[in-house]
Symmetry: C2
Subunit: 169 residues, 2 copies
């Protein structure tokens, strides 16, 4: 996907929120936030429930799992669209590695990225109500990468409130 140029009012969030905390899942420590959106990695995301696993082919070659906070999981189970404010989704990704113990199995290798989507329909009105954050080793990727997030979600899954992942029962 080609990057898009987001409207200035969205870009303007950057300076104000570099050290912002994003929602009830964070503690009081300042954190590094994503460019454009000011999204941080919630502290307890690894304890959220599973929405679904996925696989990403070459060149990324990853196993992935999307987890959701309580608001997200409730919306998925009840089929609520659009997702309500307070929805947090976390996509965890690892390198796709052959198991040494079972020939036909692939398992997670090194963790690669954690990607966060946060629903705040006012704060992120210009991007479908969603804020995005892409993190490598806890540090946000650069602004150019974040400019591609919404363009891709808008082009492909606007009909599912800009969210790719469906709940795997």
């Amino acid at each position: 996907m080609k990057p898009i140029h987001l409207v200035p009012c969205v870009g303007g969030i950057v300076a104000a929120s570099v050290f912002a905390v994003a929602g009830a899942n964070d503690d009081a420590k300042p954190k590094t936030a994503s460019p454009i959106y000011g999204v941080t990695v919630p502290d307890k995301y690894r304890q959220w429930e599973l929405v679904a696993p996925a696989e990403e082919a070459e060149p990324l070659n990853e196993l992935r799992a999307v987890l959701g906070n309580v608001v997200a999981i409730k919306a998925y189970r009840e089929g609520t669209l659009p997702f309500p404010d307070g929805t947090f989704l976390a996509k965890l990704a690892w390198k796709h590695v052959q198991s040494a113990e079972f020939e036909s199995a692939s398992i997670p290798g090194t963790a690669t990225t954690v990607q966060i989507m946060v629903k705040d329909s006012k704060k992120y009105a210009a991007t479908g109500g969603w804020g995005f954050g892409r993190f490598v080793d806890g540090k946000p990727a650069d602004e150019a990468q974040h400019e591609t997030c919404f363009a891709c979600h808008e082009a492909r899954v606007q009909g599912h409130d800009y969210v790719f992942t469906r709940y795997a029962p």
Copy 2:
């Protein structure tokens, strides 16, 4: 793996526990339990935390996720081996399907099996302390399939308390 013939005392569990309930995660309803082990599907397993995703190649061609109850997750995070009694692991499997919305992504299709491991070092002393259950649409697979569980786990991951899956951070 070739099936093994489990010792008679383990096979003898079958008759007594077809309608047994297996642990604190079950309600009071009688359920169909796995042959040999008498393991049932815990009610709340889908809400357990993620241990790790995985992929299984052809012919099964599945995406998978292993979830663990509170006892399991605590043991994983603290590196406790062997896993304590009360550990429950659930392996969920779905057909591996090409995403219609993103060319390089594969996502869960139809659910195929739910497989449960339960640690009870006394009840399952003959099989490393583990009881096994393999379920399709909530119904247990046959005895022949359950005869293969421990043989494979014993041959391949005895050094990790008979558990294949490691925690994906």
